[in-house]
């Protein structure tokens, strides 16, 4: 007799949520707090920042001194994952590029993200240039949910009244560091506006929340926060939702497909346990996918049945299409004025202290849609790679006696130079709107399965002139800011041969748009509440439903939309519509 069997549970939950990141976490939080019995399936392992964060560790506590050998953002970074996962491949079509970052852990990628929390604006939902499709919803419809997310999770920033950069309900922002004051002055001379950052870090207590404490300024949000001072879906949504008694979480549960009834409605989900490789099937009255834009698309495309021959929620054929990631390009260098600077603790907080929201009118430019600029630098904790550039920098500016010296060196002079240049670094990175295009997509690769036997995604993604010209503009802007503040550029200055430093798609980890919402069921997978047109008890709450991302990082919008969808589910249940 074969050992192979599928373990079927007789429990029928009110809802199954696939994925525990921003979207899945928020949906589960709202439903569990409303008394719904919810089952959450997370493909990765359990992670609680209070226990598992590497916060406040010193570089020597890592044998590789914090290098990124096994984790792309370094040994102390919170993410269990990366662009490559052992046994979970993806492929690329037609020699195009796409890099797919996955975190296999409770809370997903919210554990290590930059906490930069920007609302999409009125023109992001309803673009005025006619180049891309409108969302079926307006900023005004989403605003109340952004407001609720602000109050519930906590965000700092300043009220600015910029039309397409809507203000939120802000805690006090962190004060700028010294290099950020130089940036502010230089950027203004270059005609670039600089305002206080906006981030999901508690700079003040949240009344009535005894589980989370305000930031203590170690600057290490990327490692996860032991006092839950920043937003992670693990610490702020899933773990609190479990404590309601209404949410059950199963980790190491890699979802294979959504199972449907004969009438085409969702019945449940099948998954494989990553540890013991046993197969399971669990059932619920409705299924909510929050596995990430591409992973949810993969699950839908793999959920084929006689009722859904094209994959679930895919009568329109759009699932997987319109994939887009933010554009990204950067420049770095140093500020000679800061050489031999006084030492003090300027760790600050781990998200952005300042940024530049998009400040120009595209009518006067040769590309559509804007970008924002994030800035970095200062007296940071040394880690692998520290000091490697100093011998080059020492050859770029006069020494203490006003003489130019040769690049390179060693010995006492090198030690002196290390002290001299420490904390002079400065960097800037653009994050811009990429156009959602039907021919940038992911689909199932018919020839390849992962180690669990699940067919994998293949990607087809090309940047077009809109994105390349935007990156060119970023480079020119960054160089002009560097010049105006008296900085010396040390990074490579990119030309057309490298698309002006435009990062490969997927590298910015803001991929969205693969399960788009819309009013027309022949052109979209979901309605404006993220409910599948073709399957009334199926919802998607990650970044899949995005029609067109602005230059804003996706998380705050994922949270607002997931909350809105969960509230819609509750109201539809009350009306007995689902």
């Amino acid at each position: 007799m074969s050992d192979f069997q599928i373990k079927k549970s007789s429990t029928v939950y009110d809802a199954i949520v696939v994925g525990s990141g921003a979207g899945g976490g928020m949906a589960a939080y709202v439903l569990a707090n409303a008394g719904q019995k919810v089952l959450m399936l997370e493909a990765g392992q359990y992670f609680d920042p209070r226990l598992d964060s590497h916060q406040l560790k010193w570089p020597w506590e890592s044998p590789r001194r914090g290098a990124g050998t096994t984790r792309p953002f370094g040994d102390f970074d919170a993410s269990y994952g990366g662009w490559e996962l052992d046994g979970e491949p993806y492929t690329k079509k037609d020699k195009t590029e796409f890099e797919w970052f996955r975190s296999r852990m409770l809370g997903g990628r919210t554990n290590h993200w930059g906490r930069i929390s920007l609302r999409m604006g009125p023109e992001d939902f309803k673009p005025t240039d006619g180049l891309t499709d409108d969302w079926p919803i307006t900023y005004e419809e989403v605003k109340p949910f952004y407001d609720k997310v602000d109050r519930m999770i906590g965000i700092y920033g300043t009220v600015e009244g910029i039309k397409n950069e809507p203000d939120g309900i802000f805690m006090k922002p962190p004060k700028p560091r010294l290099n950020e004051l130089f940036i502010k002055k230089g950027a203004e001379k270059a005609g670039v506006k600089v305002i206080a950052g906006r981030g999901a870090v508690m700079t003040e207590a949240i009344k009535g929340n005894n589980d989370r404490a305000p930031c203590f300024y170690c600057g290490q949000c990327g490692r996860g926060c032991k006092v839950y001072g920043d937003f992670s879906a693990s610490s702020c949504l899933v773990i609190p939702a479990v404590s309601t008694g209404n949410l059950t979480v199963i980790t190491d549960a890699m979802v294979r497909e959504v199972i449907t009834n004969k009438d085409g409605t969702a019945k449940g989900v099948s998954y494989v346990n990553r540890k013991d490789l046993q197969e399971y099937q669990v059932n619920a009255k409705l299924v909510i996918l929050g596995a990430s834009a591409c992973e949810s698309a993969r699950i839908l495309l793999n959920s084929k049945s006689s009722a859904h021959p094209n994959g679930l929620a895919n009568n329109s054929g759009v699932v997987g299409k319109y994939l887009h990631d933010s554009t990204g390009a950067s420049v770095s260098g140093f500020l000679p004025q800061l050489m031999d600077r006084k030492r003090y603790n300027e760790d600050g907080l781990g998200s952005i202290h300042i940024y530049s929201p998009w400040w120009l009118d595209n009518k006067n430019l040769d590309f559509p849609r804007g970008y924002h600029i994030e800035y970095g630098g200062g007296m940071r904790m040394p880690s692998y790679g520290f000091g490697g550039g100093v011998s080059t920098m020492a050859g770029m500016v006069p020494d203490k006696n006003g003489k130019m010296k040769d690049e390179g060196g060693y010995g006492l002079a090198l030690k002196e130079d290390q002290r001299r240049f420490y904390g002079t670094g400065v960097g800037m990175a653009g994050r811009g709107t990429a156009i959602a295009r039907e021919d940038n997509y992911c689909e199932i690769d018919p020839n390849v399965v992962d180690k669990y036997g699940i067919p994998v995604l293949t990607f087809h993604y090309k940047w077009a002139k809109e994105e390349v010209l935007q990156a060119k503009h970023m480079q020119e802007t960054f160089l002009s800011i560097m010049k105006e503040m008296g900085g010396v550029v040390t990074s490579k200055i990119h030309g057309p041969e490298t698309n002006y430093g435009l990062e490969a798609p997927g590298k910015i980890i803001h991929e969205v748009g693969t399960i788009r919402m819309g009013d027309n069921p022949t052109k979209s997978a979901l309605n404006k509440y993220c409910q599948a047109h073709d399957c009334k008890n199926l919802f998607v709450v990650d970044a899949g439903p995005f029609v067109q991302q602005g230059d804003k990082n996706a998380t705050w919008t994922i949270l607002a939309l997931a909350m809105r969808t969960a509230e819609y589910i509750l109201s539809e249940k009350k009306k007995q519509n689902i």
Binding site: L51, P63, D86, L181, N210, Y217, V227, R343, Y344, G408
Partner: protein
């Protein structure tokens, strides 16, 4: 939870770095014991990989001796701090070439290149040369723009060796004290100190 309670909860009540280091170590050891084999915040494959790397040896005794001499030429002891070998930089380099195998051939080959150079000039291996002899070769590979074309292989090796040495040195307690990084401790960030603002004429710049 207020700030004091929350810091207590993670075992941090004092703001002094030395106390902090002492406080952190036993707690992480406790966690390891409690989880019986599962290291907090690490995937099991990462822990296994580190164990495997630590059980292997890459460099020969002669290579390690050469690395030690070179590291101390790059970072010697001075009035502020100790030398690279005081900070156990050679041991770090032994680990990192196993962690990042792309360093292995350039390091092994570069060390050999250096010995051959030294032998051709002085008929002895680099570590057996006197410091004047050693420095005469180093001076020809330590300044990339001045180096002769035939010394390029040595320049590439020395650049790598210098980077690994600074990586290894400034990520230790000795190196961090030298460089003057004073963070990684719970605090209240209240902006740039007034005297620093004044020094740079930044008192009136606001965001």
């Amino acid at each position: 939870m207020n700030r004091r309670d929350s810091l207590k909860a993670i075992g941090l009540t004092a703001l002094s770095t030395t106390v902090l280091v002492a406080a952190c170590k036993p707690s992480s050891e406790k966690e390891e014991v409690a989880a019986a084999g599962k290291e907090a915040g690490r995937e099991p494959w990462e822990t296994d990989r580190d164990k495997k790397l630590n059980s292997e040896t890459f460099f020969t005794k002669h290579e390690m001796a050469t690395i030690t001499v070179l590291a101390d030429i790059i970072i010697p002891k001075d009035s502020v701090s100790g030398s690279a070998s005081d900070a156990k930089v050679p041991e770090f380099i032994e680990f990192i070439v196993k962690d990042m195998p792309e360093h292995q051939v350039p390091m092994r080959g570069g060390l050999k290149w250096l010995d051959i150079q030294c032998f051709n000039r002085y008929e002895k291996a680099f570590i057996e040369a006197n410091s004047k002899e050693q420095i005469s070769i180093i001076d020809e590979i330590a300044y990339p723009k001045k180096a002769k074309p035939e010394m390029q292989a040595g320049v590439a090796f020395f650049n790598r060796m210098r980077s690994l040495t600074t990586s290894g040195f400034y990520t230790t307690e000795i190196g961090i004290k030298d460089i003057g990084y004073v963070g990684n401790v719970p605090n209240q960030w209240d902006g740039v100190p007034t005297e620093v603002l004044k020094h740079y004429g930044m008192e009136n710049v606001t965001i």
